[in-house]
């Protein structure tokens, strides 16, 4: 527990000093939103943005988190920090938990900015359902899963050739079931039609189950990855 807090504090301090991940992720997310604007500019006026917004939002989150996860181990590697951490006699899974938590916090921080921005750019012209606030639940569940698997995979890819592409190649198929469940839950909450809970609750349950399995597996297997 003590080690966990120290490691977490190290990551947070480093981020607050350099602001490397947060700024790059934030600007990247903004740029993706601009690309969405261009992509949707030619759509017909009667086009139902509500139907698509759940998917678009998750596209934004997946690509932004890919960028962030790529960075999360880069500076550890560059500064030889990882070797230092590995010298400490502690359970390796603690490193996983600390790293996953810091990734999670950064992803949340970016989402806190980007989701309102997304709303501002795309959803002010229409009226989302009253249940709009419930997208918080899939956002939290999805981000936990992304941070968990992403931490394991970014540790793997840091030692491979062409690591940026490699992370995408491994990450996107693995996270697909989670993405699918989160998109359906988010879309259900945004549209909020009659009986949307019938879609929302099972999808959220599926995402939660996937989270638990994947985070547990990543946690167990992390030792083999980081010491290899």
């Amino acid at each position: 527990m003590h080690h966990y807090l120290t490691l977490l504090k190290k990551d947070l301090t480093q981020e607050f000093r350099t602001k490397e991940m947060l700024t790059s992720m934030g600007i990247y997310a903004l740029l993706v939103l601009v690309v969405f604007g261009a992509a949707l500019a030619q759509t017909a006026s009667g086009f139902d943005i509500l139907q698509m917004s759940g998917g678009l939002l998750w596209v934004l989150i997946v690509f932004t988190s890919l960028l962030g996860l790529n960075r999360s181990f880069a500076h550890e590697k560059e500064n030889g920090c990882l070797e230092g951490v590995l010298l400490i006699p502690l359970d390796r899974s603690v490193i996983f938990l600390a790293k996953a938590t810091s990734n999670l916090l950064f992803l949340f921080a970016v989402e806190v900015v980007t989701v309102p921005l997304f709303y501002f750019f795309f959803l002010t012209t229409t009226t989302p359902a009253a249940s709009f606030w419930m997208i918080v639940a899939p956002l939290i569940v999805g981000t936990v899963g992304i941070a968990g698997i992403g931490t394991l995979l970014s540790t793997i890819t840091i030692n491979t050739r062409g690591r940026d592409v490699m992370l995408a190649v491994l990450f996107i198929p693995l996270v697909y079931p989670l993405l699918y469940a989160c998109v359906s839950a988010t879309t259900a909450a945004i549209i909020g039609s009659e009986g949307f809970m019938d879609v929302f609750a099972p999808a959220l349950l599926l995402a939660g189950g996937y989270d638990i399995i994947m985070v547990l597996l990543s946690w167990v297997l992390y030792d083999f990855v980081i010491s290899a």
């Binding site: 698997i149 394991l152 793997i156 030692n159 491979t160 050739r161 062409g162 490699m166 190649v169 491994l170 996107i172 198929p173 693995l174 697909y176 079931p177 699918y180 399995i213 994947m214 597996l217 990543s218 297997l221 083999f224 990855v225 290899a228």
Partner: protein, 256 residues
């Protein structure tokens, strides 16, 4: 092999299993062929989808047509099951590798994944042909199709990952971990047609209204044929990989 490692029995090429491999391959091919012949001779044409379990296809009752295209089922399902079995072995050998750190298990896992990829591609091709004929589209984002596509992408990613790492031990560890995580998608893929009932993909393994004996016998023959083919391919490939490893080792010794 030194004495301390004696406790772990390593799979090795050249034993009785390898002697059996060509015969297994031959027997598998014969069995599968026999199964396909039976499929076209004894198994009845499926009346719509009543035997196979789908009542509704695109909100339409499909029961007034004899589906000759259903014959592909005798190839598609055995091949799909064989691919999933091979992936189970990938995960199993991955676990064994992580426990023992023996490079041999990594070779096994890699060979199993290669076998899986062959069968996955067969499943995909036969499945696409069938969906084109039966659903009228080459591809649809239906849950079973999607999860299986993801499985294929994961297996391809497994090989891309292997190619991107030079250090053998690190490559083996990462591949083992990734193989184990990949396996999570296998039960999801297998169960998805049951979890999402609206799925158009037929549910085959059920207890209520399964196949008639006329269909079950050719199916089982094809199924065991495919398993034997998978086993034969695995052993032959494993033997080849092992011999290559040994040649590399001998070359290294000669150079010293």
């Amino acid at each position: 092999m030194n004495d301390t490692k004696k406790a772990v029995r390593l799979p090795e090429a050249g034993g009785m299993w390898d002697k059996a491999a060509p015969f297994a391959l031959l027997a598998g091919a014969l069995l599968a062929t026999l199964g396909f012949i039976l499929t076209f001779t004894t198994a009845p044409l499926v009346l719509g989808a009543t035997v196979n379990g789908v009542e509704l296809i695109g909100d339409q009752m499909v029961s007034n047509k004899l589906l000759l295209s259903q014959k592909i089922f005798y190839f598609h399902v055995p091949v799909a099951i064989a691919s999933m079995l091979a992936l189970a072995f990938t995960a199993y050998y991955g676990v064994r590798f992580l426990m023992t750190k023996e490079a041999r298990f990594d070779t096994c896992a890699k060979t199993a994944t290669e076998t899986a990829l062959v069968f996955i591609i067969c499943t995909m091709v036969s499945g696409e042909l069938w969906t084109r004929f039966e659903w009228g589209v080459w591809w649809t984002w239906e849950p079973r199709l999607t999860t299986y596509l993801i499985l294929m992408l994961l297996v391809i990613a497994y090989f891309i990952l292997r190619n991107a790492i030079d250090d053998p031990e690190r490559r083996a560890s990462y591949a083992a971990v990734f193989g184990i995580i990949t396996f999570v998608d296998v039960p999801i893929c297998f169960m998805i047609t049951r979890m999402i009932p609206s799925s158009v993909h037929p549910v085959v393994f059920r207890t209520d209204s399964g196949m008639s004996p006329d269909m079950l016998v050719p199916f089982l023959i094809c199924f065991f044929g495919m398993i034997l083919i998978a086993f034969g391919l695995y052993r032959l490939r494993f033997r080849q990989a092992r011999l290559a490893e040994r040649v590399a080792l001998i070359k290294e010794h000669l150079e010293d």
